[in-house]
Symmetry: C2
Subunit: 335 residues, 2 copies
């Protein structure tokens, strides 16, 4: 495998997150990456994305042509859930390095088939929350024993998903064609954060509901969680909230507690609370890690298996709500 | 039934909550109540309680003798969970008015047998959280539609239950002889508050755990809740917390949200948050309501059926955790 520096990367997809997050991060990391091409189904979208790049970038609507070129080292696949998996599979089969957006796949079965298409390349699933500095520092605090043994965690996420939210406009998120709808799309982030902090989730028991007609198939969940460590947890999510409220992951330990937001961490021990603030640079940091993995073989946090474990937890929550039984997430083989 | 004013009341039990909460409230309400006797198994405890009353009060260790006196209008039963039900049953059979501590009984079956012992008197179960002014105002806000339709609620209660907590000393709470331990004793309060705010809970799916050896049989729970209204919720409780953290019941509606603590209410609508503070006078207010029910026939919030519905929800949570199934709380007949 060539280790060409900077890594020549092609962006497959030119939607909101490609333009707002991936392109700015790739530009910032220009010692590591050079965007050589941007694909979109419509040339207009590809051109709009290319216009954000301060150097010349090819635009194309011909995906297959990109896959057979030998001057591309890596693909960054930023496509809707419905079309992501077949493109990731084709990209993996080229043997080039791949970073693909979360969720890795709309269900565990599809995700497992992607694992089978993997070659000997770096494949990272873009779960930027696993590179969130506030969460990483919270995890370090737990590992240091700052709050003793974690006993109970709770987190609720009320999200306003109206036309005022930029993701509402992406109709593919609202067409009800994949399990969980926004609960999968957003939910893998929340599971990734919880697993980062507290380790594997062994069992879930949940209810789900569709409150809003325009958010099929479900938009609200309440789940009880049992972690392998023995800690218990609750997770509540709704995309039918009328007003945003930022809520923390709160973890109660037998020696103290911590509350972690995406940019703030509070730790309480012996009655004293310490607060730290962080800039959330998860997308930039994960792309830097992708570059380091390609160029130097550095390990990274975002393996396909990790991403598939996040999907497995959401799938178990959705199934538990349908069956009325506590369920274990499907086991994902260690790579 | 005599309506003697002030109501001549005998206190059965002289423990922490009798001394710290009931006696001060009964003294404050001296136009309504006169404490005529205090029973405890040990004369010393009864005398210590009587010493708190600014007028002469009989003390006795003979419970049966109190039940046959005709100069007592009402009994206030403040006994441990293990000995509460038989005393309440005997008190009910005298036909006198009864206020008895929560939980009404250690399980639904025992509670139902108490209903059968009821005569035509006022019987209130002392659930002071149903008289908490902050919760009552939150309920009024929900009924007014301040946050639109409630969609999701979440609440977690980390409680420090060490020798520093006065209830830790009451060994009956820690002997593991009734289902749920502190999760029943404290849990009925939490369920009462949730039911007051959001109505009946139709289904629960939960995990439980015993973290601390000295808090049998279980001290931690994580539960998903489905309300009859369609709202979903999560409830997390642990008595194994290392540090106290006050947490709110947070209710997300499709038009706004509210957070309610025992003495504070925050309501957010159209991005603006209003905050109100309240004094928690639940015990005083419920005893006043007990007096008004006896003297004037005024309806009150604390029927035996309401109290038994709280127990039924906790019992369903404990059973769900054992069976791995989502369960409906046992139905309690309307009186």
């Amino acid at each position: 495998m060539t280790r060409h520096s900077p890594v020549r990367i092609a962006l497959l997809g030119a939607g909101i997150f490609a333009r707002d997050a991936h392109i700015p991060a790739l530009i910032e990391l220009q010692d590591t990456f050079r965007i050589v091409a941007i694909y979109s189904r419509t040339r207009q979208n590809a051109e709009a994305a290319a216009a954000l790049v301060p150097y010349g970038v090819e635009v194309t609507t011909d995906l297959e042509a990109l896959f057979v070129r030998d001057d591309i080292d890596a693909f960054d696949v930023v496509l809707p859930i419905q079309s992501l998996a077949p493109v990731v599979e084709a990209a993996l089969r080229t043997g080039r390095h791949v970073i693909s957006e979360k969720p890795i796949a709309p269900d565990v079965e599809t995700g497992l088939s992607l694992l089978a298409a993997r070659r000997n390349q770096v494949w990272m699933v873009a779960e930027n929350w696993r590179y969130n500095r506030s969460f990483l520092e919270a995890r370090a605090a737990i590992e240091r024993g700052d709050i003793g043994q974690p006993v109970l965690c709770h987190w609720a996420l009320p999200v306003v998903m109206t036309p005022a939210n930029k993701y509402y406009g992406t109709t593919w998120r609202r067409d009800g064609s994949f399990q969980g709808g926004f609960l999968l799309d957003g939910g893998v982030h929340y599971v990734a954060a919880l697993r980062l902090l507290l380790g594997e989730i062994e069992q879930v028991a949940a209810f789900t509901r569709q409150v809003r007609e325009d958010l099929p198939p479900v938009d609200t969940l309440a789940a009880s969680l049992r972690f392998r460590s023995g800690a218990l947890g609750t997770l509540g999510v709704t995309f039918a909230a009328g007003e945003n409220v930022e809520t923390a992951i709160t973890i109660t330990g037998d020696q103290g507690w911590l509350r972690v937001y995406r940019s703030t961490l509070e730790i309480n021990r012996k009655g004293d609370t310490e607060q730290q603030t962080f800039q959330d640079r998860g997308v930039r940091d994960e792309l830097a890690a992708f570059g380091a993995a390609i160029l130097d073989g550095t390990p990274h946090r975002n393996s396909a298996e990790e991403a598939l474990r996040d999907v497995a937890v959401i799938e178990a929550i959705l199934r538990s709500a349908r069956s009325g039984e506590a369920l274990a997430p499907q086991a994902i083989p260690v790579s």
